[in-house]
């Protein structure tokens, strides 16, 4: 309720200073009154004008009156002013005649508003690269050449063929599909996009796997043509390996020509493999894996807001302040800042929220609203007096279901004292009417026969609360989404079903009890574990937003890995910045730093944790509402390539240390080689360490720039300089760094003699063995997580097979842990460069602040309850996915001990696995009691038994 949505709107003016901006927003007309539209879809049905549907990439048509897609938010129709026959030619107005609520307003002119805000976040996103005009790929000329986003729509159940995969030319199922990677990315020849789009390798793999699922019995031959396979994210490498085992062919090649296939269907592709052989191959379909390009409107946006763009047109930001734009008070996030996948966008969005809120924390809560309700009427012990409201939803329900008959049926049901039929039960006036009826007839249970509780139950719960009833005394019968809309041709059967649905709802409502929403007091203090850059940033961010924070560091020093890093990928000096950061944390009045400290115990749950901390031998007890885990990771110790046996073999950090202390330390060298993926992407650590390719590029560039006479070789498997880091790879090649690829089954072999090291490998282009004589060998050692077993067992949070802390949801909750109140950031989550660790740390701050800013937290009342029948058999303990159940012993009056389970309502999510497991009805879920469910079953089957 504190988010005001301005759709069809653009920012046209911006001025002011941080904390006090004035933004001018131009709102374009929707021609449909949002307050009146009930999303029945009649306007679209009756609209005679068809235009290509941009949501489905123009693969099918939509009407001029439309919604973008079925689950659109806000779920309100819009009239496309460019296409509407009335608005363009002055005749038609069909929608207006049929709209049941009179929501159509052709007089809508839009408006311009001025808004006062303290901060601004820019997240205009990206646009998929458009390969139109690249004749060698035939896009736009050969119908079976599609972009990856078009293919995504073809795969989607909501797409033009409802998820039935067919090729465009003849709508037959393709038997072979080929993907071409890096279309519009890593390309400065046909376009100006020198960057890597970061997401295409992974989405191509995803599409191959989903395609395989669609194929069913007959298999589809799938080929991915790529330059480097880039899967440098959590669980990404396994995903890639999995695809390989599923028979998907990955070919390192870039097809240079696509021609129409035989008979004008499919494509014929010509490509050259690494050994120099030319191949012609036919495929039924070709998918162009198009990159992420800056949205065309972002240039205008940058000019309006006066912020800088980078050479590609993405927003300029520093690695050491990843969400700050060049203008104070304006923050940038998502794919507008750099091409990135969903989790990084979500993370960065939270980071921007933290940054935007920081300057405003003094006025937090001044412009937000909270609702107040009258005191609840106690209905306990009262006989049910049920009011049933049957909604016609215009003609949405009434057009199929005989609502009068349903209402008549409702009148015959036990406990029902009032039945009404409304045109629109959800409308504001009906809400007032329901509240009035509750008072007039002393109703104490309400049944609404209308649409789905998933979208509308909160609205009706609110109505009940305003009328002084507990919000859980409502039950909805879904006679629209799951009846009239899906049984349009069977009105009689639909009416019978609606009666059953109402009867089931009444049966359940009769047994409904008022439920108390649990409130938890929130301790407005935070704990941060780990004193690396992520932990430091998190602690500072939390303290700056006004929350007392304890920072725990196991060693004696703050700074972590960053103390050994001289420069970021963009060349910013890390050490002066780190010193400044450490000083800020050390001197902050709201931060207490505990070094040489270890956590011993943690009790409690979200909002109120208590922990014992061992600080250099002394035990301290601290209370906190939320914790951020930033335990970090470290460069591993290689066990191959003569590391540890020959001192000329170094790790990347050892090279940095020598080069940074003495830039001429390697001046006498003739050749230096780097080996990538040392200990990464192998059987022991089947993940990519993400940062080593970029690190090697920086080192190689620094060496060649300082000492042009040194030959620098990089032995790699795939170069993974994702995003804008690709520019470093290009720079390294321009400087003459030699790149030689090796494969996992043909690793380089290193031998040593007094003069030099010999690195034996095979050149894949020449198909010849090579021996490099080098003076130093640098190993890109894998990054491995710091030990967290102890913490994991204390907090009962999860780690993945590689030892990295697992987030609650990889896409949508990337910095929350599965245990509420705990957050993760930095390399404890996955290896990542400083800028990503900082963004994650700021995101963790934002997420923790959502929690800490509440004085008390309202929990949903749908929770499990233990009954007297529990005998403590503890079967439910093992099945509870949230570990919310524990066994407690109580001593009775006669001295005998009884065992029984107890639930922690703060952890319980109301899934009811415990209820289904319990053999004796000892535990149930409120609002879904066994009696209620049984009553519904009985009510449903009443027809059979009559």
């Amino acid at each position: 309720m504190n988010i005001q949505l301005h759709t069809l709107s653009e920012v046209t003016g911006f001025n002011g200073r941080p904390g006090h901006f004035t933004v001018t927003v131009q709102k374009h007309p929707r021609y449909i009154d949002m307050d009146k539209c009930i999303a029945c879809g009649l306007c679209a049905e009756k609209c005679p004008k068809k235009v290509p549907d941009e949501f489905n990439m123009g693969l099918n048509k939509r009407k001029a009156a439309y919604i973008k897609y079925g689950q659109a938010v806000p779920l309100k129709y819009v009239i496309d002013g460019q296409a509407c026959i009335y608005l363009t030619r002055g005749k038609c107005r069909a929608c207006e005649k049929f709209c049941p609520t009179g929501a159509i307003n052709f007089e809508d002119k839009g408006e311009t508003v001025q808004l006062q805000v303290g901060s601004v976040i820019l997240a205009p996103g990206y646009k998929p690269f458009d390969p139109t005009g690249w004749d060698f790929y035939g896009y736009g000329q050969i119908s079976d050449v599609v972009t990856s986003l078009e293919y995504e729509r073809l795969l989607s159940a909501g797409g033009p063929h409802m998820g039935h995969l067919v090729r465009p030319s003849d709508e037959t199922e393709p038997r072979s599909v080929a993907w071409i990677q890096c279309v519009g990315s890593r390309n400065t020849n046909n376009c100006d996009n020198g960057y890597c789009s970061s997401v295409c390798c992974m989405y191509a793999i995803k599409q191959t796997l989903i395609t395989a699922e669609h194929a069913g019995a007959h298999s589809i031959q799938q080929t991915v043509f790529y330059m480097d396979m880039r899967s440098p994210g959590k669980e990404f490498e396994r995903y890639y390996e999995n695809a390989k085992t599923r028979g998907i062919r990955f070919l390192r090649s870039r097809p240079h020509t696509i021609l129409p296939g035989p008979g004008g269907n499919g494509v014929c592709m010509r490509y050259v493999t690494e050994d120099g052989a030319v191949h012609d191959e036919n495929f039924d379909m070709a998918v162009l894996s198009v990159g992420l390009a800056p949205a065309p409107e972002s240039r205008q946006l940058a000019a309006t807001f006066g912020i800088d763009l980078d050479p590609y047109g993405f927003a300029q930001s520093a690695n050491l302040s990843p969400v700050n734009s060049s203008r104070a008070g304006v923050f940038v996030t998502g794919a507008f800042q750099a091409p990135k996948a969903i989790p990084r966008s979500v993370t960065q969005a939270s980071a921007a929220a933290a940054a935007a809120a920081e300057a405003l924390h003094a006025v937090r809560g001044t412009l937000t609203r909270r609702k107040s309700y009258p005191v609840e009427i106690n209905v306990h012990g009262q006989a049910p007096r049920i009011g049933v409201f049957v909604c016609s939803c215009g003609i949405n329900i009434a057009g199929v279901v005989d609502v009068k008959a349903v209402a008549e049926h409702a009148r015959t049901l036990p406990h029902v004292v009032l039945v009404e039929n409304n045109l629109f039960t959800c409308s504001v006036d009906t809400q007032d009417q329901i509240a009035a009826r509750v008072r007039e007839h002393q109703l104490n249970r309400i049944v609404i026969a209308a649409c789905t509780p998933r979208t509308h139950e909160p609205l009706f719960q609110d109505t009940l609360r305003e009328a002084g009833l507990n919000g859980y005394l409502i039950e909805m019968a879904n006679i629209r989404n799951q009846n009239s809309w899906v049984h349009q041709r069977e009105p009689a059967a639909a009416t019978a079903k609606a009666k059953d649905q109402v009867r089931m709802a009444v049966a359940k409502a009769a047994l409904a009890d008022p439920l108390e929403t649990l409130t938890v007091q929130v301790d407005p203090k935070a704990l941060v574990i780990g004193g690396g850059v992520a932990g430091l940033t998190a602690a500072l961010g939390l303290a700056e937003q006004g929350y007392a924070t304890v920072l725990l560091e196991k060693s004696a020093q703050l700074g972590g890995n960053a103390r050994r890093i001289a420069f970021t990928a963009k060349g910013e000096a890390v050490q002066p910045w780190l010193e400044h950061l450490v000083a800020q944390v050390r001197n902050h009045p709201a931060i207490e730093v505990l070094t040489e400290a270890r956590m011993k115990t943690a009790q409690g749950s979200v909002g109120h944790f208590v922990s014992d901390i061992d600080v250099n031998g002394h035990v301290r007890t601290i209370h906190y509402g939320a914790a951020v885990l930033a335990t970090g990771a470290a460069e591993s110790c290689p066990n191959e390539y003569l590391y540890g046996q020959d001192e000329r073999v170094l790790t990347q950090l050892a090279l940095d240390r020598r080069f940074d202390t003495d830039p001429d330390a390697f001046a006498g060298d003739g050749s230096i080689a780097f080996i990538q993926c040392v200990g990464s992407r192998d059987a022991q650590r089947p993940y990519c360490s993400r940062i080593c390719c970029t690190h090697t590029m920086r080192s190689a560039i620094a060496l060649r720039e300082r000492h042009p006479h040194i030959n620098v070789y990089v032995l790699f498997r795939d170069i993974r300089t994702y995003g804008k880091r690709e520019a470093l790879y290009q720079r390294a090649r321009e400087l003459g760094v030699v790149f030689i690829r090796y494969t996992r089954d043909r690793k380089p072999h290193v031998t040593a003699d007094a003069d030099s090291l010999s690195v034996a490998c095979t050149d894949p282009i020449l198909q010849m063995p090579l021996v490099l004589k080098v003076d130093h060998l640098v190993l890109a050692a894998a990054i491995e997580p710091n030990a967290t077993e102890e913490l994991v067992s204390i907090y009962k949070c999860g780690i993945n097979a590689d030892g990295f802390l697992n987030e609650a949801h990889p896409k949508l909750r990337p910095v929350d842990l599965a245990v509420d109140g705990l957050f993760v950031c930095g390399m404890a989550n996955y290896p990542q460069p400083i800028e990503e660790s900082l963004a994650q740390a700021q995101a963790a701050v934002a997420r923790a602040c959502v929690l800490l800013s509440q004085q008390e937290m309202q929990l949903d009342a749908i929770k499990s309850m233990v009954t007297d029948r529990c005998d403590g058999c503890a079967l439910c303990l093992d099945v509870c996915p949230y570990r919310a159940i524990r066994l407690v012993e109580a001593v009775g009056q006669n001295g005998s001990t009884t065992r029984r389970v107890a639930t922690d309502p703060a952890l319980c999510k109301g899934c009811g696995l415990c209820a289904a497991t319990c053999p004796k009805g000892g535990i149930f879920v409120q609002g879904f009691t066994p009696d209620q469910l049984r009553a519904q079953v009985t009510a449903a089957l009443q027809v059979v038994n009559e």
């Binding site: 653009e10 904390g19 995903y239």
Partner: protein, 146 residues
């Protein structure tokens, strides 16, 4: 006076050409446009601007064709990780504008609204959801994007 192409300026400062244009329009960089997308800039202005952008001295010298006296006061400013609150004459406004209703804009709006700030979410199209809504499934879990 230094005669320089806009592309060269963009390369030097590692920004988009339009951004250079915006700087000149807003007066941050004082320059006069001449024919062929070229600009005339005072040498002192160029040195001042390069130094404020933290460009190394050698590169400034190469660009301006003259030596630049290294002055300790003009050292590149270390970006602070999180900017300290600036003292204001009046209390700031407890509202935030989020431009763009894709997954990033939505997440930022929710986090802010749920921690006590009013949010204005501005979206160009008729509904929020952005590009993610168009995706069928997401990697690496093959979860539905909706």
């Amino acid at each position: 006076m230094i005669d320089i192409r806009i592309g060269q300026l963009a390369q030097t400062f590692d920004v988009h050409r339009n951004t250079i244009g915006n700087w000149i329009k807003s007066g941050r960089l004082r320059a006069v446009s001449t024919v062929g997308k070229r600009y005339l800039i005072e040498k002192e202005e160029m040195i001042r601007f390069c130094m404020s952008a933290g460009i190394p001295l050698q590169r400034i010298a190469a660009l301006t064709g003259s030596d630049v006296p290294p002055s300790p006061s003009e050292r590149p400013i270390i970006p602070s990780p999180i900017k300290r609150e600036v003292r204001m004459s009046a209390k700031p406004i407890g509202a935030v504008m989020v431009v763009g209703g894709g997954i990033a804009g939505i997440q930022a709006s929710l986090d802010l609204a749920n921690s006590g700030y009013a949010v204005h979410l501005v979206e160009r199209s008729a509904g929020i959801g952005g590009a993610m809504a168009q995706l069928d499934k997401t990697y690496p879990t093959n979860d539905c994007a909706m």
